[in-house]
């Protein structure tokens, strides 16, 4: 096509120029058409992708709900653990039963110990008595020694006095010999048994002595431990209710962080609304494009191009805002989840190391361990005491009988000796009638003396043995009673002690069980956090879907702006898209609107175009520069307009735009 006419002046030139501009415009129109095609395709894609985004948010919300559920469960478990381990979550009945039982058993052992001390004194006395009784043997031996020779002397002295006298003294002699045999038997067996009794009682004394010392040590320690435990328990129970546990603070931090995550989810509504508003504007944008395309002249084309420039820039701005919102949502949710996870991990390690836990649940010297060990100890001690009492009872019981038996024998001996003495006196009297019986008289008298002395020793010994037997019987009774009460106490310890042990272990087990549950919950939380993070994948929508729509809109706006400027259009003309503002429900949308509007009214100010994704929807656009009154709109290109092409003034009330806007 020849552009240059043959004539350079006159109508043909203008016609040519008009044709030239017409073709230029047609080319520009095809550019717009291309861009609009992109916009339509991107809009369709957006609709689909929005459903996908909504599904993603729903998935995130669902996973977050599970995460929050696990988190709640975890926090409750930690609170339970803290309350258990610090005593807040239980009353003192868990411990008071055990303390009462230990106290009662300790009192019993104290009683045993006091009784043992008393019994030991008695047994030592008895043993001393036995020692003295054993000395009687020597005494008797010594006293009765001469009687060994008396029979022989009687025989010798009675020999010259006739058979009748011999017969009398023979009988006496036999009695004396019988006495000797009896005494030998007593010394040979009974006094040996008495010696054995002394050794037995000494052994019992030694055992009871050791037991008494052990009981004294244990009961003293126990009493101190019980008092200390009760005191500590009271103090800790009181202070725990006022103590501000770090875990409580951490719980609140977590709750706040979860709120932030939930707010991140709310971006979905914001984004959804913005996209709906953007999508709602497209029919009118399309209509204006059609209007532009079908405009028969530039004047007709200007107004729709104005509209397109403003509306496309506006919608591009809203889309950029939506991109920013999506980035914020992603950051809020991902960052929040990571923070919550970190806080929960801190909470877990904190609850393992909390100093408050050492009192009750510490296995080495915590109260539960101490009480369990004390119950075991008193059980063993009571058992040992009962066994010891039983042993002493069994050992001492026959001794009383032995003593009594020995008493009977000695009394019998004493009676025989008295008879011998009397007999000897009778014989002595008879012998005195014959002057040849002087020796017999002396012997008889001496025999009588020995008998009396022996009788006295025997009576004394018998009396001591009676006392010993009575004393031993009393001690044996005491040991019998101790055994009986000890068995009762043992029963109590076996039944109630087991109950209290079970209760203490159950308490510690509940804390351990909660601890295990916390560990499991933490594992669940970590897994759930990973699953949740996997759903937070908004990048494609943000970096691809939205820009695919925004960039062509900006290109349309820029192109329309250049076209209007090239035709000397006044950008401060009526804001055609003012009506859009009425549809905006969010401050961020109104801010974008305001920045677009202010950029239009100050053409020197930079116009909104593609900007990097901002952190806050409020930072998406710079503040519109203040209008400078009186500044004429600058025009970059010379106006190529005829008078007929001057734009008709916009209707004062913008009725076309207002009506259009009302469509939104």
């Amino acid at each position: 096509m020849k552009w240059w006419p043959l004539k350079l002046k006159g109508e043909p030139l203008l016609v040519r120029l008009q044709l030239l501009f017409g073709s230029l415009e047609r080319r520009r129109s095809s550019e717009f058409a291309g861009l609009f095609a992109q916009v339509r395709e991107a809009e369709l894609n957006l609709v689909q992708a929005s459903r996908g985004l909504e599904a993603q948010f729903l998935a995130t919300s669902s996973e977050l709900e599970s995460l929050a559920g696990f988190g709640d469960q975890f926090v409750k478990q930690v609170e339970t653990l803290v309350s258990l381990a610090t005593g807040k979550g239980c009353d003192d009945s868990v411990f008071s039963g055990a303390i009462r039982l230990i106290d009662q058993s300790t009192q019993f052992l104290v009683g045993c110990q006091e009784q043992t001390v008393g019994t030991l004194e008695l047994l030592r006395t008895y043993n001393a008595q036995i020692g003295r009784l054993l000395a009687v043997e020597t005494q008797l031996q010594r006293t009765m020694l001469p009687l060994r020779f008396v029979p022989t002397l009687f025989k010798a002295e009675s020999a010259p006095l006739g058979s009748a006298v011999q017969q009398m003294f023979t009988s006496l002699t036999h009695e004396i010999e019988g006495l000797h045999a009896q005494v030998q038997e007593i010394f040979g067996t009974k006094f040996k048994q008495l010696e054995q009794t002394r050794r037995t009682v000494a052994a019992v004394i030694a055992q009871l002595d050791r037991q008494s010392q052990s009981l004294h040590e244990v009961t003293t320690t126990h009493k101190a431990q019980i008092e200390s435990s009760i005191e500590t328990l009271k103090k800790e129970m009181t202070s725990n209710h006022e103590r501000d546990v770090r875990l409580g603070v951490l719980s609140k931090d977590i709750a706040r962080e979860v709120e932030q995550i939930v707010m991140g989810l709310q971006f979905q509504d914001i984004i959804n609304q913005k996209l709906q508003h953007v999508t709602a504007a497209f029919p009118q944008i399309e209509a204006k494009f059609t209007e532009f395309n079908t405009a028969s002249n530039q004047a007709q084309a200007r107004e729709p191009l104005h509209f397109l420039e403003q509306s496309c820039r506006l919608e591009a701005g809203q889309l950029q805002g939506a991109e920013g919102d999506l980035a914020n949502a992603e950051a809020a949710i991902q960052g929040g989840i990571q923070k919550v996870l970190a806080q929960l991990t801190e909470m877990d390690s904190h609850c393992l190391s909390l100093e408050e836990f050492k009192l009750l649940t510490t296995s080495f010297d915590g109260m539960i361990q101490v009480l369990v060990e004390m119950i075991e100890e008193v059980r063993d001690l009571v058992g040992a005491t009962v066994a010891s009492a039983a042993e002493a009872y069994e050992v001492l019981r026959p001794l009383g009988g032995l003593a009594s038996g020995l008493t009977a024998i000695i009394r019998d001996l004493s009676a025989r000796i008295r008879l011998i003495g009397l007999n000897a006196q009778v014989q002595a009297a008879r012998a005195a009638q014959d002057r040849r019986g002087a020796g017999l008289e002396v012997l008889s008298a001496r025999t009588s003396e020995i008998s009396e002395e022996t009788n006295r020793i025997s009576v004394d010994a018998a009396s001591q043995l009676d006392a010993l037997a009575a004393g031993l019987a009393e001690s044996v009774n005491a040991f019998g009673k101790l055994q009986t009460t000890g068995l009762t106490q043992q029963d109590v310890l076996n039944q109630q002690g087991r109950t209290e042990e079970r209760r203490l272990h159950a308490f510690r087990d509940s804390a351990l069980e909660t601890l295990r549950a916390i560990g499991d919950s933490l594992d669940q939380l970590r897994a759930q956090a990973q699953r949740t993070l996997a759903t937070v994948q908004f990048s494609e929508f943000r970096q691809s879907t939205l820009p695919a729509l925004r960039l062509p809109l900006i290109a349309i706006a820029d192109g329309a702006q250049r076209w209007v400027q090239a035709r000397g259009g006044d950008q401060s003309e009526a804001i055609l898209v003012d009506g859009f503002k009425r549809n905006y429900t969010m401050a961020s949308e109104r801010e974008v609107f305001a920045s677009v509007v202010s950029a239009r009214s100050s053409p020197s100010a930079p116009l909104p175009s593609e900007r990097p994704v901002a952190n806050s929807e409020f930072e998406a656009f710079t503040e519109p520069p203040a209008d400078k009154e009186g500044e004429p709109a600058s025009v970059s290109e010379p106006a190529l307009q005829t008078a007929s092409e001057r734009p008709a003034p916009a209707s004062p009330n913008g009725s076309d735009l207002g009506a259009n806007v009302e469509l939104f």
């Binding site: 296995s363 080495f364 272990h505 159950a506 087990d509 295990r516 560990g519």
Partner: protein, 108 residues
């Protein structure tokens, strides 16, 4: 149920198969007492007592009580105690109850 293992000259190792719970603690206690008091062990000089809990996933309160009882007996002999574990829950239990301050915990 368990076996004495003599891995080093101056150490004694006892392995518990499975968890350390109230259901088996009493039986284990008797066996431990028997082993510790056995002639070949009581007369031999050992400085380390190793309790192998690598097969355990759980230790309950009665089990803990048994460990403490063993620990006190070991300490009375002037020896020290090591506990080998493999399950994180067992470690948590010993940390929570502060037993890790009295025994050496060794991860298997």
């Amino acid at each position: 149920m368990n076996s004495p293992q003599d891995s080093e000259k101056d150490s004694l190792t006892l392995r518990v198969l499975g968890d350390l719970l109230s259901t088996n603690a009493e039986a284990l206690q008797s066996e431990f007492a028997r082993l510790l008091e056995g002639a070949d062990v009581s007369s031999r000089k050992w400085g380390i007592f190793r309790l192998d809990l690598t097969g355990a996933k759980m230790v309950d309160s009665v089990g803990l009580n048994l460990v403490v009882t063993l620990l006190k007996r070991v300490q009375k002999r002037g020896a020290r105690m090591q506990i080998a574990y493999s399950n994180a829950n067992v470690l948590r239990t010993f940390s929570f109850t502060r037993l890790d301050r009295h025994v050496e915990l060794v991860k298997a």
